[in-house]
């Protein structure tokens, strides 16, 4: 069971162990992580699960595909950076065990 760690803007950490294949969005929503609403249900359609991938992990998660829907939506998300991803588009694997995702300030 890989663990994904969400870090709130105030530094609070939420480590969550999930089954391989679970998205980081589902991990957050099912465990009540503040700031990850996931309004669209994980369909890559609303940008309410915006996270900043910790610099040490961005090579392994990859970036949003340029010009794709995720990239389109991230353009309008507040505080978007080049390490921004939508958590619904990151499926957890053993390779991502320990993945650290920061929740942007002001999200919700």
């Amino acid at each position: 069971m890989p663990t994904v760690i969400f870090i709130e803007p105030d530094g609070t950490e939420f480590p969550i162990a999930v089954k391989s294949g679970t998205t980081a969005r589902d991990a957050a929503v099912n465990n009540g992580v503040p700031g990850i609403d996931g309004d669209c249900g994980g369909e890559c359609a609303c940008a309410t699960c915006h996270v900043h991938v910790d610099a040490a992990w961005i090579d392994r998660t990859g970036m949003a595909e340029p010009g794709g829907m995720e990239d389109n939506l991230l353009q309008f998300a507040e505080g978007s950076t080049e390490n921004s991803r939508l958590a619904c588009q990151i499926a957890m694997t053993d390779d991502l065990d320990g993945l650290t995702l920061r929740i942007p300030d002001g999200q919700h």
């Binding site: 609403d37 249900g41 369909e43 359609a45």
Partner: protein, 417 residues
Amino acid sequence: MTTDTLVRDPVSTVPLSQIDVSDPKLFQNDTIGSYFARLRREDPVHYCPESAYGPYWSITKFNDIMQVEVNHQTFSSEAKIGGIAIQDMQTGESALELEMFIAMDPPKHDAQRKAVSPAVAPSNLVLLEPIIRERAGLILDSLPIGEEIDWVDTVSVELTTMTLATLFDFPWEERRRLTRWSDVATATPETGVVSSWEQRREELLECAYYFKDLWDKRINEPAKSDLISMMAHAPATRDMPFLEFLGNLMLLIVGGNDTTRNSISGGVLALNQNPAEYRKLMADPGLIPKMIPEIIRWQTPLTHMRRTALMDAEIGGKKIKKGDKVVMWYLSGNRDDEVIDRPNEFIIDRPNSRHHLSFGFGVHRCMGNRVAELQLRIIWEEVLKRFSKVEIVGAPERTLSNFIRGFTHLPVKLHAH
């Protein structure tokens, strides 16, 4: 209801091909729900060959709507080929050809939206919250207890107008002009709000010149966090052609006005129709943040958005042809029991209440959704502090429109704690 009318119940017996859900009267008398229920059951992607708006497809199921929402490459919002409502955007001499980013496709849409979205981003809203709360308190404190008042005009319109004036830093004493312009922008001559397209054009031009003055002042002042100043200073918007400026203004005015206004009224009606939920709320005001998305789903203040197919496509097994008008009925999708558990019930602590269609999805998802939620949260927090009940004491009157789902009149009586 007599047996005779049951037998002749038009909703269950009319041939599917004759169902036309675009008739504004069905929304005004609130009978539209049974038509949508039948379409979801029997013909969820429905073709209406003839209507006042020409032929159109109705998309009535939540997941089918989602599929259209996220595919902006196929389903266009572009004004020049029809725009975003079942009524085509007006063209020709009597109309103003307004350009606004809600009715543009990427990439132009993206640049303009990015320029104004910081005004309604959560970090800016934190600054607005105390102002909106203070103003909401002033409105509520001025209301008489125990007398019949119109909730629409005295509270819903007043609060949303105040918020909009705050967002624009609009001259305070003249703020009701914003309300009028919002009503005019969504009006057609048949609604009675304006008597002709020419009158609509004149009033909107007046609005445009009024804002042009504000713009001219603010462009010469240091940049501030109001919407006009932001548009006047942002590279993506500061050289905007006049009609595009007007279009985006109207978008912000209508987007920030009609919608939230009607959700504020709709919440009062929903709680009155569901007294057990009202009691639950009074017992635990901490439920307000969960209740707000449920009110927005329940009300669905915009009944639909429309797209135009840029190429042949398939939805729910039906072949959509290039050029076809495709109407996504949010009001129907928000009652789809395949996605929403017990959709016809108003449940203030519904799990997963944020999963609704009222804000749309994809790149055109409502930019002001956090402002809307903020206003609704504040108004309910302040109402609960002051009144033990907002009681409906007469029949609500609904808006004659197939686009705006709202109220023109909602008589209530306030009860003190």
